[in-house]
């Protein structure tokens, strides 16, 4: 048996060692890739969509933003966030037209503007990534454009199409993509919004729906729809490098949408290629194999394991920015100014569903960066006596760097204004009473404590809906919510007595209804469950109890929660919003009357309506950032703070860790196409990985020896028994 064991061991060990090569044994990547200029990151949830008309989630943007290029993008270093051209030659300037089609001067009154025209000129010489959809034969005909099901017999992944080609980007690709927003089978999440703005898009969507139904009735439900056969009035191609978008009225925020993949070009050839019979059955779709002009192209799409992007050989030659904020020079962020992008050759995103293995692999050097979960926060971060966050000693010893930034997000507690108790019903007296109640709760709920306990200090208490970095949010005394805070060199929450006074004015002195004497009971609808959520919910109950208000928590699953919100059956709820673009309009619209969730299925979950706020919103919406706009925003904030439809909650702070070999990192909470600016030192990474991951065998040997030592007496006992005399 011994001989057999050693033979087996001799077989197994070389196998294991051969698998590892000369790299650390616990290296999860191929040994052949050691020392290469590859970024290693992870993702926890498989992306649902990679088609630019459908993709809207942050986790999808991690991939799509590296592949697609929209007309505009955000400057990597400048703050506040600044739009700059991407594939467009310049930021398009709006031309305003009246109802008769006559051009209006800049600054024309909104009521006079019937439509707006954006003329977008694109850069010349931009070429798509190599792709089979462009492959041509010697005669110049596309090779893979008339395939039948039989031709796909041996094609299972895109790489099975061996011939590749490319072509120059042109304006028709942008027109085609805008038409795709209305494609009846693609369900673009922004179609509803864009139908309100892009001239003719609503009719176009209706027409395409009819075409789709007709195809289905004729038994061709999966047949490709050639969108080029149907003109769209709102998009006009002037020449190969120029196109125009016609909008109804004025919509200044449209420029921000031009920085999103929704408006990135899609070539007709690719759509037709993937629309061929049998492609969907083989999972060969544009949604799975994106095609773009960006710095990277997706070469392996296996969301069950890894997503791999490599440098696009046809990338247009963009260079690293040469200007930024003053601190960027000191931080070395301008050292690469003018150098061609991207710096990294390959991006490997591995599926990592659980936080513990992800964290441990980061510490071993197998991921180049990491977020910080609450259970590892104390291990990673310590605060100085001045309250400054820094990496812990163990992290510093590994050369790990900490980066902090405030997200352009807000987490709030909302009141349903349709509820009789917290909303106030129809008469002014009840509404005033409910307003006082909401104000009292606003003062009482101590979000500073919440952030300290449940967020590890990662957040700042909100003074209104606008997070830092968004125009209109003021720092210092001018920016505080005077209903809740006083200014004493810093914002200081008012004492609980102030809340109790407001509560008494609301008719609930000491938490009792002045009319009936009944205790005030409020209902909090949440999706949070489990032990971890319990402590948060207990904290909320304790905060309400400071006013002698009983808070009943109504936990439910997310589906039912959404249903309650849609039907207006919730009383108090918790929710959040992450900015689509860095403009105050993108937060203020969450409280716009026309966006009421119950009435219009919009995004105003509190169903808050205030005509004064709505009027100011319409004025502010299309203004350029200016003192005049700030004035409108201040007035809007005053209205909101007085009405208190939300407890303004907090704006989360993102903490991220980076290894010493990861450079040019500046957090950007709006743009996702930032990997092209970042760089690595693969040699340093390889050296550290080897240093940190030396295999340890002795625990096994020690364990084996202990086991043998424990068994020896038993074996001796058995031998004695075997040799002993049998007893009756």
């Amino acid at each position: 048996m011994n001989a057999k064991f050693w033979r087996l061991l001799a077989l197994f060990l070389p196998l294991a060692i051969a698998g590892c090569g000369d790299s650390p044994w616990n290296n999860p990547y191929s040994a052949a890739d050691s020392g290469k200029n590859i970024l290693y990151s992870s993702f926890s949830e498989r992306p649902k969509h990679l088609d630019p008309v459908q993709s809207y989630s942050t986790n999808e943007s991690t991939f799509t933003a590296q592949i697609y290029e929209a007309p505009l993008q955000y400057h990597y270093l400048k703050r506040p966030y600044t739009l700059i051209p991407c594939v467009a030659e310049e930021i398009p300037k709006p031309r305003f037209l009246d109802a008769g089609g006559r051009e209006l001067p800049a600054g024309a009154a909104i009521k006079d503007i019937a439509s707006t025209v954006y003329e977008i000129k694109i850069k010349r010489g931009i070429r798509y990534q190599p792709h089979p959809a462009f492959a041509k034969n010697a005669a110049g005909a596309l090779i893979y454009q008339n395939l039948g099901v039989a031709d796909l017999a041996d094609k299972n992944v895109l790489a099975d199409f061996t011939e590749l080609g490319t072509r120059e980007l042109n304006a028709r690709d942008f027109e085609y993509q805008i038409k795709r927003l209305a494609h009846p089978r693609l369900h673009s999440p922004i179609l509803g919004l864009m139908e309100d703005y892009i001239v003719g898009l609503k009719d176009y969507a209706k027409k395409m729906k009819e075409v789709n139904v007709a195809l289905a009735k004729s038994g061709k439900a999966d047949a490709w729809i050639d969108l080029t056969q149907y003109p769209l009035a709102g998009v006009e191609v002037i020449d190969d490098y120029t196109y125009r978008i016609h909008l109804k009225g004025q919509y200044s925020q449209f420029l921000y949408w031009l920085a999103m993949p929704f408006f990135a070009p899609v070539p007709l050839e690719a759509d037709r290629f993937f629309g061929q019979p049998g492609m969907v059955k083989k999972n060969l779709t544009l949604d799975w194999y994106p095609i773009g002009t960006g710095p990277y192209m997706l070469t392996e799409n296996n969301p069950n394991r890894a997503m791999v992007l490599v440098r696009n050989p046809n990338f247009r030659g963009e260079t690293y920015p040469s200007e930024g904020e003053p601190a960027d020079v000191a931080n070395g962020l301008l050292a690469d100014a003018g150098k061609p992008l991207p710096f990294i050759d390959k991006l490997v995103f591995s599926l990592e569903k659980e936080g513990i293995p992800r964290w441990n692999k980061f510490l071993q050097g197998y991921y180049d960066s990491s977020g910080i979960a609450s259970d590892t926060f104390d291990q990673a971060v310590r605060f100085s006596s001045g309250g400054e966050a820094a990496v812990s000693d163990s992290m510093r010893a590994q050369g790990i760097k900490l980066s902090t930034s405030v997200a352009v997000s807000t987490y709030y507690m909302g009141f349903n204004m349709l509820d009789a108790v917290v909303g106030g019903g129809t008469d002014e007296k009840s509404r005033a009473r409910a307003r006082k109640l909401r104000q009292a709760i606003s003062v009482a709920i101590d979000y500073e404590e919440y952030i300290s306990i449940f967020q590890n200090g990662r957040g700042i208490p909100a003074q209104g809906p606008l997070p830092p970095g968004i125009f209109g949010m003021l720092d210092g005394k001018a920016g505080i919510n005077p209903l809740v805070y006083t200014w004493d060199g810093a914002a200081k929450r008012k004492p609980i007595e102030a809340a109790k006074t407001l509560l008494a004015e609301a008719g609930y002195a000491n938490g009792l209804d002045a009319k009936t004497g009944a205790p005030l009971v409020l209902y909090f609808d949440v999706t949070a469950k489990g032990a971890e959520a319990k402590s948060t919910l207990d904290w909320y109950k304790a905060q309400f109890a400071r006013l002698n208000i009983q808070l009943e928590v109504r936990p439910t699953d997310y589906n039912r929660f959404q249903d309650k919100i849609r039907k207006g059956n919730a009383q108090i709820y918790e929710w959040g919003w992450h900015a689509d673009y860095p403009d105050p309009e993108n937060f203020m619209f969450l409280l716009l009357g026309a966006q009421s969730k119950v009435k219009n299925q919009g995004e105003n979950a509190s169903n808050y309506v205030n005509p004064e706020f709505d009027r100011l919103y319409e004025e502010m919406k299309n203004m350029p950032n200016s003192a005049e706009r700030q004035q409108r925003i201040d007035r809007m904030l005053n209205v909101l703070r007085e009405d208190a439809p939300w407890l303004w909650g907090f704006h989360p702070k993102d903490y991220a860790l980076y290894h010493a070999w990861y450079g040019n990192v500046k957090p950007n909470k709006i743009a996702y196409n930032t990997i092209k600016y970042q760089r690595l030192d693969p040699q340093l990474r390889e050296q550290k990985r080897r240093e940190w991951n030396q295999p340890l065998w002795w625990p096994f040997v020690a364990g084996l020896l202990v086991l043998i030592a424990l068994m020896l007496p038993a074996i001796a006992m058995w031998r004695r028994r075997e040799r002993g005399t049998a007893h009756a």
Binding site: L15, A16, G19, P24, W25, N26, P28, S30, K48, Y56, S57, P184, H187, P189, I190, L191, G192, L193, K209, V280, K281, K282, N283, T285, N302, N304, R305, S350, L351, E352, K353, E354, I356, P357, N360, K361, L363, Q364, Y366, D557, N559, Q562, D563, D580, Q601, E603, N693, Q694, P695, L696, W697, P699, F700, M711, P713, A714, M717, W718, R721, E722
Partner: protein
């Protein structure tokens, strides 16, 4: 026996229909087609029209079980249940909500699931029988006592602890294998060692205790006493007589699990990043993808039925006294 097998296979049809009905009812008690549409379309700016279009395109705008407005037999056939669930009986699983072909996905993921589950099954069986035999061999000694204590303790610990502990010790502290991940071909070996070791160790307590009981029961039989009286050594008695007879309940117990190896382990695959069918199922539940959930439940039920049938057949093979009729 052929008649018996045929009868059991025919009986499987109503069982599978029942499982389908229950899965369908449970799923749609918790999720409505509107919820499914919202999950796919995202949380932001979703219009009622977009939801209606999504449901219409995928056939989720029909009644669940009974279409009162349809004529004749279409009252039953023009429903979500008929169109989504009954097609599976011809192994037409359709597409997942993200548009991917489910059958193809299952074929792709079966390999990684088997790559973990099969070695765990075989190595586990070998280890458990060996340890149980060892404990039985040293019965009534401190080895037996402490063996049982360790087994009870091991049974009482959550499988999550074994996973996290295994990753911490073997992957993080000792740096012997990757903490998680997967690769194709021979390179997969490095990634499989840890989940296999952890899964085998996690099952050790319960299995060793059970098998020890089987062995002790056999050891107390008359034929064993006779063998000893003939002068056979204890090792010969154990390996030649006890092991052979105790393997009957062990084998019939494990045969039922063989078909289920294909569907993998839910938690293990998730923690170790194994792209198998277990993690596919977990993802589908999380994303409310009814098409995948029903397919996986259907396959799981079918494999379980096959496992039970194999168990019955295995009885006849290991015990000649058993006849299937």
């Amino acid at each position: 026996m052929s008649a018996y097998i045929l009868r059991r296979l025919l009986l499987a049809i109503p069982i599978l229909i029942g499982v389908n009905v229950i899965t369908f009812a449970l799923f749609f008690l918790v999720n409505t087609p509107d919820d499914m549409a919202r999950m796919q379309l995202g949380a932001k700016r979703v219009t009622p029209e977009a939801i209606a279009n999504w449901k219409n395109e995928r056939g989720y705008d029909k009644p669940l079980l009974y279409n009162a407005t349809a004529p004749g037999i279409e009252k039953l056939t023009d429903t979500i249940f008929y169109e989504k669930s009954l097609r599976m009986f011809v192994f037409d699983f359709g597409r997942a909500d993200d548009g991917r072909d489910i059958a193809r996905e299952i074929r792709l993921r079966m390999g990684p699931s088997l790559a973990v589950a099969l070695p765990v099954f075989l190595v586990g069986l070998l280890f458990y029988v060996t340890f149980a035999l060892g404990v039985a061999f040293f019965r009534a000694t401190y080895v037996d006592f402490w063996g049982v204590v360790i087994c009870v303790v091991a049974m009482s610990i959550s499988s999550m602890f074994y996973i996290i502990g295994g990753q911490f010790l073997i992957g993080k502290l000792w740096h012997l294998v990757p903490i998680s991940g997967f690769a194709g071909g021979p390179d997969a070996l490095r990634f499989l060692v840890l989940p296999i070791v952890v899964s085998v160790v996690a099952g050790l307590g319960a299995s060793v205790r059970l098998y020890r009981t089987f062995f002790l029961e056999e050891i107390s039989r008359d034929y064993v006493r006779t063998a000893r009286a003939k002068g056979l050594s204890e090792i010969t008695v154990l390996f030649r007589h006890v092991l052979k007879n105790a393997m009957i309940p062990i084998l019939t117990g494990v045969v039922v699990a063989i078909p289920l190896l294909f569907i993998g382990g839910l938690i293990t695959e998730s923690f170790f990043g194994i792209p198998g069918l277990g993690s596919y199922t977990i993802d589908a539940i999380g994303s409310q993808d009814f098409a995948v959930v029903r397919s996986m439940v259907f396959i799981g039920s079918l494999l379980y039925i096959i496992g039970l049938l194999m168990t019955d057949i295995s009885y006849t093979l290991v015990d000649p006294r058993v006849r299937l009729s």
